[in-house]
Every structure is written in structure tokens, then in C-alpha cells.
Symmetry: C2
Subunit: 412 residues, 2 copies
Amino acid sequence: MAHLNEHYLKLKAGYLFPEIARRVRQFSEENPGLGKSLVRCGIGDVTEPLPPAVIEAMHRAVDELAHRETFRGYGPEQGYEFLRHVIAESDYRQRGISITDDEIFVSDGSKCDCGNILDIFGDQNRIAVVDPVYPVYVDTNVMAGHTGPADLSGAYEGLVYLPCTKENGFVPELPSEPVDLVYLCFPNNPTGAVATREQLQGWVNYALSAGSIILYDAAYEAYISDREIPHSIYEIPGALDCAIEFRSFSKNGGFTGVRCGFTVLPKSLLALTSGGEKRSLHPLWNRRFSTKFNGVSYPVQRGAEAIYSEKGQDQVRHLIHDYLDNAEILAESLCSSGLDVFGGRNAPYIWVAVPPGYNSWQVFDKMLQDIHVVITPGVGFGAQGEGYFRVSAFNSRENVREVGRRFKEVNW
Amino acid sequence: MAHLNEHYLKLKAGYLFPEIARRVRQFSEENPGLGKSLVRCGIGDVTEPLPPAVIEAMHRAVDELAHRETFRGYGPEQGYEFLRHVIAESDYRQRGISITDDEIFVSDGSKCDCGNILDIFGDQNRIAVVDPVYPVYVDTNVMAGHTGPADLSGAYEGLVYLPCTKENGFVPELPSEPVDLVYLCFPNNPTGAVATREQLQGWVNYALSAGSIILYDAAYEAYISDREIPHSIYEIPGALDCAIEFRSFSKNGGFTGVRCGFTVLPKSLLALTSGGEKRSLHPLWNRRFSTKFNGVSYPVQRGAEAIYSEKGQDQVRHLIHDYLDNAEILAESLCSSGLDVFGGRNAPYIWVAVPPGYNSWQVFDKMLQDIHVVITPGVGFGAQGEGYFRVSAFNSRENVREVGRRFKEVNW
């Protein structure tokens, strides 16, 4: 008889965001008059329309599909050359980073890539994640059988957790035990922290000496406003030999519902066979794309390409500027309520210490009930997230101003 | 140091279609004057533009994303309710099959689903595939570590191969050894064969008695013109307890470049834990979608919805009618050249026995060199495919007529 993948049964109930959705739904049903007074600053979803350059490009692409002469069926699984080229050129080569077009793999989003990347690694690797952490890194490792069960704090046996605390500025210290794969995400979700060039160089040096691979999630790089902070791990010497980078159009172009992102996997990246031979990972990832994926929707790829046009770049800059201004308004409001506030300067997320006497789900429930604002409880991101909550700056200015007012009304 | 997934190293060089592309590219480079004389009947890619109803719906959806009031970000990972509902209603409930909306999982294509489904199964399952077979079923099992190495014929150790031959009408007999998962695909790619109600009932009875699960690929169901042939495995009593069905909009709506399909996973489907407990697979597949996927592009889902509108249905019927007429023209031409021809009546593929003295790659090369027509060598689909080649009916009428003429010119 068929057997199921038992590793799934180790997963804690409810991925964070479905659980938030459940509580919000329940509260809304119990309070039918709530209507528009509910404001969501929970899930990190953009709220502003797509840039006009993207809209135009997508319309044009849809029209191409309406005529036999310009119709396109299956595209290259790894993405059209027009998009791989403009990404490699604009995000990397123009910044002095030597990445070739075919080291760019266009996908339907970073969340998928972060999970799928495990396919090309062996099961014997020791995996390190930061804590708090984007739950997808952890859950996909659980599903792949790389962990034992979770303990009471929610930590899975077999994973190496690297605490990100107020004391280390939410940038983890190097692991004290050897690890083979390590997930880093800067600007960070959920803490909004960034890593300096020196901190990243420390990680690259560690990875090079240990032969580890850094899985670098740079989905929020567009929010970096500080000139000294690297946008890509490949700005760090040596990183081409030890890092895979994940990027997304979700948070710059507003593609959360359109779905496009990419992975950068340099050909110089090697990993071991069990016989001790070093092999390039690039052909494996390429093969995964050929065999388990069929490319991103053509109009979506044309939309992503338009982000790199002059108009597109200008429109994206405005969008991001607006979201960062939102972050400033929210951070000020929280600060002036006497709370301890982090992030929000180079990231669309604000990370806030809960007031004494509360845990993070209690703050979630109180915010929902008292001021009808949805935030994200820190513990949803890991044990070290307890004692914090995340506020997302993805919202209209009107809503942000309203939430700013309401934060000050909370009676702690 | 990081280890790679060594199972990838067992894969035979080149997934079939990239290898075809390589040979065609090489031939084109060596014959620069070739130009438009080259006609591709190889990869099963549609050639006709999207139905107007789909184009309209996609434009409308793109426009929604251009305004804050109608903008949509992250959608439900499993698909929007509007699409899940119309699928469950039109493809199943209206045909008397009891499938609920939340048993439909909308994805970016059947190829992805066929590979990803393995995530929710244990590694101890015995896997059966037909031979010849769509290579994705085999390769994804190799990548997941479910096989040993390949032998000289290309067959992987550990997989159970079920021969589909002229003698059994290209519908496999039940396995003589117990298997836990079995891939079936009707109308078949590559043979174009269909299974009768009685044959499918035999498979369902087998699966129910053995506790196996049938992975039923129905990507080509829209091509069934014979009224007696089931469109869905769920037309067979008992199948809701033993089958997962994969469907695609690639070959009805022409979505090969737009990317959308769906999986049907009934809640009644159970599989074993190692402790011998039976559990529903539905929550596992649901969890996989929540954790490793972020939903299909919104405009694409609206396009897929439009396929089910009255206009959309009418337009799709015309498209399929045209492709089936193409199949008839090609089959007649091949027949009149004295070749043994199968399929093409309820499927867009024609399966042709190679003339004596040739193997299937030799026929591929000869067709390419002598008449500039790209076909697919049968052996690319498995050892039993040797001795055959596949001709795809996805082409313009003009090209099909031309290819029909050229087939008759080949000097065997």
C-alpha cells in the first residue's frame, strides 16, 4: 500500500500566515459590523497597483499571444533570454559583479525557489537557520526530512538555530559547530535588520573555509537606502564560490500576485559527492528547471523585463520611497507610544519589542480586538521572535496614518 | 562541506526535448539557408493563438492590477475560489462526479504537478511507469532517489516498467508484482492511445485491492472524440479512493506559454504511515501548496476561468477540432507511405512504427536531413519506444499539409 511522507506530520499546526488569516476571519465573523475599520499590517503583501510600465508590457505581451505570427508556446524553462540578460546586466554586471546570463534562473517567485533549492542538495547536509526566521526555510527542511520532531519551543531537532537578538543587532554570529548550508536574509524578514559589508565578509570567509553554501535571500534589497549596505551577497569577494542568491519582483515591482523572481547560481559553486569529488551545482539546478518546471508565464516575464526600463525603474523607486515613508510614520508612532522599535530604515518591516507582561500572540489578539489592526506575532518566526511583533509598511498612506493614530490609543 | 544530491548524477544525459533542440540547432547552423523550410512536429507545443475569450479576460485582469481599488497581491496558494469552483463544477460535478472545490489545486502546469506530487509520498513506495512514458515521471523519481542507476537500455533499477506495445494496444497490463504508485496517462503521450472504461475499471480495481494510488495524467482529455472513452479517471467507480488526477490548460486553451493546470486530490484518498495508520493525503498536498508555492499569476487564473465561459468553450472546441483534423491529415499521409500508424484519433499525437532497418533516432536524423521535418524519436520515451516515432499534430494547417506532402517524398 502507498506510504505518505511522514516528515510532513512533524510540521507544527498551521503555517504562520494561514493561522493569522484564521484568527482574523473568526474575529470578523464575530464582529460583523467591523467593515473597513480592520487594517492589515500583518502579512507582508504590497497594496499599491503595478507600475504603469509593467501594465503596458503585460498588455502588449497578451496581445502577442492573440495572433499566430507572434504567439509563443513553451519558452525556455529557465526564463527568456531577454529577461535573464537584463537581470544579469542591470543587477550584477553594471555593479561590477561577474554573473553570466545563464547563471540567472527565472522562477515564479522566491518562496518556491527557497524550497526547491533543497532538491539539489544531499540529505546529509547540516542546515543552519537564523531565529527568528522566514518559516519557509524551516518548514521545507522539515518536509524534506532534514530534521527530527519539534520541541516545545517549536525548534526542530537537527537544525542549527542562530539567534538574532537585540544584543547582536539581529545579525547572527558565526555558528560554533560546522554547518553545510546556511540561510541568510538581508534586509531581513521579519526584523528589518541589514548586514554590513564587514558582517557579510565574515560569513563569506566562514563559508569558504568550511565549504558551506550560503542561501542568500535578497528579496528586499530594493529597500536599502543606506549607501554602505551591500545589495547582493556577490558584492563580497569570494561569494561567487559559496553563495546562491534569491531575488524577487514581489516587493519592488509589486509582483506578489503576478509571481516572478529569480535565483542566481554561479557556475563556480561546487559541492561534494559522497565519494569526495567536487562538482558544479549549476547543471543540477539547470536540470531541475528542465525537468520539474516549464518556465514563467510569458506576459509575466515581459512585465518583469519592464521593471528594468527607465520608466519602470523610476516608477519602482517612487513605490519603494512611499513604502519606506510609511515605515517611518509607523516607527515614529510606535516609538512615541514608548515601545522599543527596530528595522524599518532599509526594509519595509518594523520589529517591535512587546510591552512587559505580554507575549507576541497576546499582542496580536489585543491589537486585533482593541484597535482592529493585524500585526504579525514574532513567535511565528521562531522562539527568538517571542517578545516581538512585526509591523508591515505595505499599505496605503491613508491606512498607515490611521494605524499610526490607533497605535497611540492602545492601553498597555 | 555541502553535499549535492547524487541521484541527479544517475540521470541520462539530456532530457529528451533539450536533446532534440540541440540536434535541430546544430543542423540549422550547418545549413544556414534552411529558413522556413524547417517544420517542427517534435515537441508537443501548440501553435495557434489563445482563444479571444482568454485574451479579453487577461487584459481585464491586468487592468485590475493597475488600480489600487482592484489590485490583488498574494492570492490563495491553492488557487482563487472563482477558478477552483468553475473547474470542480464544469469538469466534475456536472458530469456526476462528486469533487468539492477544495479538492482542486490550481498550479502553473501539469509538468510541475507530476514532479511535485512525489513530495507527499514516502521514499519506500514501489513505483510503476508505463513504457514508453513521458520522461518527467521517470526523471523526477530518479531525482528523488527512488531508483538505482540506468541500464544500457535506459531503464532505471527499482522502477517497475509496464510495456505498452502494439499487441496490448498500448494500454499496459496490470503489474505482476505489487506496486504502490502507478502513473497512467490517457489519452497517452506519446502513443495517442486511449483506455476504455473497462480497462480503467481494471486498474481501479487493482489499485483498490493493492492499496496503490494511480497518478492519472489527463492533460489531453479534451481531444477525446469517441463518446465511450472516459475523460476523467473519476468516471470509474472507486477511483475517488485511489486516484489523483492531473489536468492542464496547455493543450485545450493553448496555455503552454501562459502556464496553468490543476491537480484533483480527493479527501477520501488515504496512505499509510510507517506505523500502519491510514491518513488522508489531502492535508499534505494542501500544506505543500501553502509552504512551497504562492499561487498562479492572477491574470493567468482569470484567463483559465474564461476557458469555461460559453464563448471560451466554443473557441476551444474549434481549436481542438482543427488540431484533430491535422492529426487525420498527417496520419493519412503516413499510412499512404506504407507506414504502420497508431493514435491520432482521440489525441494530438500519432505513433508510427519505423520502417525496417532503422532505429528511431535514425528516423529523426533522416527526417531532419531529407525533408527538414522534426519528429520525436520513440526511444526518447523509453526502451519500448524504440521502433517508433511520434508526430505532433500541433501546427498550422498550412504546415501540416506541407509536412503531409513531404512525408510521402521520403525514400526509405
